[in-house]
Symmetry: C2
Subunit: 154 residues, 2 copies
C-alpha cells in the first residue's frame, strides 16, 4: 500500500507553498532547494498539479508557482488521486475510477467477498484523506512549530 514519490513530493511541496514566507509566486528552484527534491523532477510534478488546477503558474523572470485554491478547500485525497490514481487497493473497489475484475476470477462482482473488503479499506483511506485539507496541515505545522519554540525557550 505504498505511496509513490510523486504523491509524497506533491504533498510536501503543496504544504511548503502553504507555509512559505517571502515573495510569491515561488520558483521551482526555491521549492526544490527547500524540500530537497530534484529540480527537474519537481518541474514535472508541478506541471501536473498545474494542469489539474491545483496550482497556478507565472512564467518569466520572478515567475513561479502559487496555490490556485484555498488551502481549506484542497484535500490531500484529491492531490494523491491526481498523482497516484485511485485510492482503492483493487481497481474493482474504486469509486472514482471503477474497473471490473476479470470475469473468470470473480463471477459476480456484487457478491465478491474480497471486493467488499477492499471497498472497506478504500473507504477507510478515503475517510482520512478526504477530510484532511492543506489548511489543516498548515495549522498543525504552525502549532507544532510554536510548541518547539516554546520548548526551546524554557
Amino acid at each position: 500500500m505504498k505511496l509513490s514519490t510523486r504523491g509524497d513530493y506533491a504533498t510536501r511541496v503543496l504544504l511548503e507553498l502553504c507555509t512559505a514566507e517571502g515573495p510569491r509566486p515561488v520558483s521551482v528552484t526555491d521549492l526544490a532547494n527547500r524540500t530537497a527534491i530534484s529540480q527537474k523532477y519537481l518541474e514535472q510534478i508541478m506541471g501536473q498539479l498545474r494542469s489539474a488546477g491545483i496550482v497556478r503558474s507565472e512564467r518569466g523572470l520572478h515567475g513561479g508557482y502559487e496555490l490556485a485554491r484555498e488551502p481549506d478547500g484542497l484535500t490531500v485525497g484529491e492531490v494523491i488521486r491526481i498523482m497516484d490514481g485511485p485510492l482503492a487497493p483493487s481497481p474493482c473497489a474504486s469509486r472514482s475510477a471503477h474497473v471490473p475484475c476479470p470475469a473468470y476470477r470473480c463471477a459476480v462482482e456484487e457478491s465478491c467477498v474480497m471486493r467488499s473488503l477492499w471497498l472497506e479499506v478504500r473507504d477507510a483511506i478515503a475517510e482520512v484523506l478526504d477530510r484532511t485539507t492543506f489548511g489543516d496541515l498548515t495549522r498543525r505545522q504552525q502549532s507544532s512549530l510554536a510548541l518547539s519554540r516554546a520548548m526551546y525557550h524554557i
Copy 2:
C-alpha cells in the same frame, strides 16, 4: 495504494482453502485451477505462506496444502503484511517495520506533519484488515451463497 497480485492471490487462495470441499490437503494444481492463477506462480506464494506458518504442507502423492491455523485466528492484515510488507503508505509510518525518513527531508520525525497523516492512514487500513479474519470472510461468502441460491429458487 495498490495491492500486489501476491497479496491478492494469497487472500483468494486462503479463502478457497477455508471453503474448499473434498479431500485434504489440497494440491496446488487444484488450487490453481479453482482460482485461475498460474500454477508455478502459486507454488511460490504457497511456499511463502508455509514458511510464515500460515499453511502447512504434505509432500508426495496426495500431498498438498491446508490451513495451519484456525480461520478465526487468522487476519487478512497478517497475510497482506507477509506478502506485501507493511501496510503504511510511508516506511516512517509503519508500526511493525519502522524505517526513518531521510533526515534532510524531515528534520524531526516526531513533529513531521506528513508522517502523522500517513500514520492516520496506516491505522485506518490496519483497523479494517486486522479485525477481519478468514473466518469472517468464510461466513460472508456462505451467506452470500445462500442468498443467491434463494434468489435462484424464487
